[in-house]
Amino acid sequence: MAHDTHVHVRSQAEFEYVKKKRAEEMRGHLATFAIMIFLTLIAFTMVAAGFSVYLIVPIILLLAGIQVVLQLYYFMHMSGKGHGMIAFFMFSGMFVAFITVLTFVTIIWW
């Protein structure tokens, strides 16, 4: 078949190397998770502490944005190779999402 996958058996050294790289990647994911928990704690603490609305809203939206970028690029591997088309899909979706929300919060009133 045209789309045959070549089965490549790694040498022991190659195998150890890949395994080590994966373990490193997993440690990176754990660090990402710690950052996400930290950002969430900041967001909830700010609201509980009762700061000014004009201070809280931009900051918690920014924190949410950072958390989503971490999810997409690290947990969902969008930073990996071969994700160019995927980035195009997602950014197009986000662009439409942004326009939709902007429209509904600015031109609709009751």
């Binding site: 996958t5 998770f33 996400m36 928990i37 969430t40 809203v57 947990f75 986000m94 999402a97």
Partner: protein, 208 residues
């Protein structure tokens, strides 16, 4: 290549999810779905923001008086942790460790079920105090947005459970590796949506 070809950790490819043409096609198609889902949720968020605290005059429920942060905080932590456990599952999938992957997926499913249970408790509580779906434009928009997310959680859980049961005896191969990978992508996407729900609906709701 036979789709049921047996592998060893040494011969298992670096990216089993995109090692076959079928896997590649699923991968691209699934991300296209996620981009479309982004737009779906954007329309629900936009509707919610436009209708927040809106309804018939004399309506007694508003976001500031309704939402309780401790429950939302617990739900957020549970869903965020389940995102990490599915990362662990995919880590073991790439290491060709089927049992460890199944175990982490089982933990993910348990956390997801806990999240869903808390959401059902929350909705039940709202309906009980009179804040039902038809109470106001606000209540309809709220239940539609958060309920659609909850339906996605339910679907994601069913997907994980179906994959785990169906492949329990088969082990990992090129046939099911893309399936597990995509289910975990879906689970991360559910967490992405929840990040905006807890920020935009609950946190921004509580501060008025």
């Amino acid at each position: 290549m036979d789709i049921n070809q047996k592998y060893t950790p040494q011969s298992w490819p670096d990216h089993p999810e995109t090692a076959t043409l079928e896997g590649k096609n699923k991968f691209v198609g699934f991300w296209l779905l996620l981009a479309a889902e982004t737009v779906t949720f954007a329309s629900l968020f936009a509707t919610y923001l436009a209708l927040k605290d809106k309804g018939p005059s004399g309506m007694e429920f508003s976001a500031a008086g309704l939402f309780e942060l401790p429950l939302v905080f617990a739900m957020t932590m549970i869903l965020l942790t389940s995102s990490l456990t599915s990362v662990y599952a995919m880590h073991h999938m790439k290491n060709y460790n089927f049992k460890a992957m199944q175990a982490w997926l089982a933990i993910t499913v348990l956390l997801g079920l806990t999240f869903l249970g808390l959401e059902i408790y929350e909705f039940n509580h709202y309906v009980h105090i009179g804040f039902g779906y038809t109470n106001s434009a606000f209540s309809s928009a709220f239940f539609t947005l958060v309920g659609t997310h909850g339906a996605h959680v339910l679907f994601g859980l069913s997907w994980f459970i179906a994959l785990m049961l169906r492949n329990a005896k088969r082990g990992l191969n090129m046939y099911n590796a893309p399936k597990f990978y995509l289910a975990s992508l879906y689970w991360h996407f559910i967490d992405v949506v929840w990040v905006f729900i807890f920020t935009v609906v609950y946190l921004m709701g509580v501060i008025g």
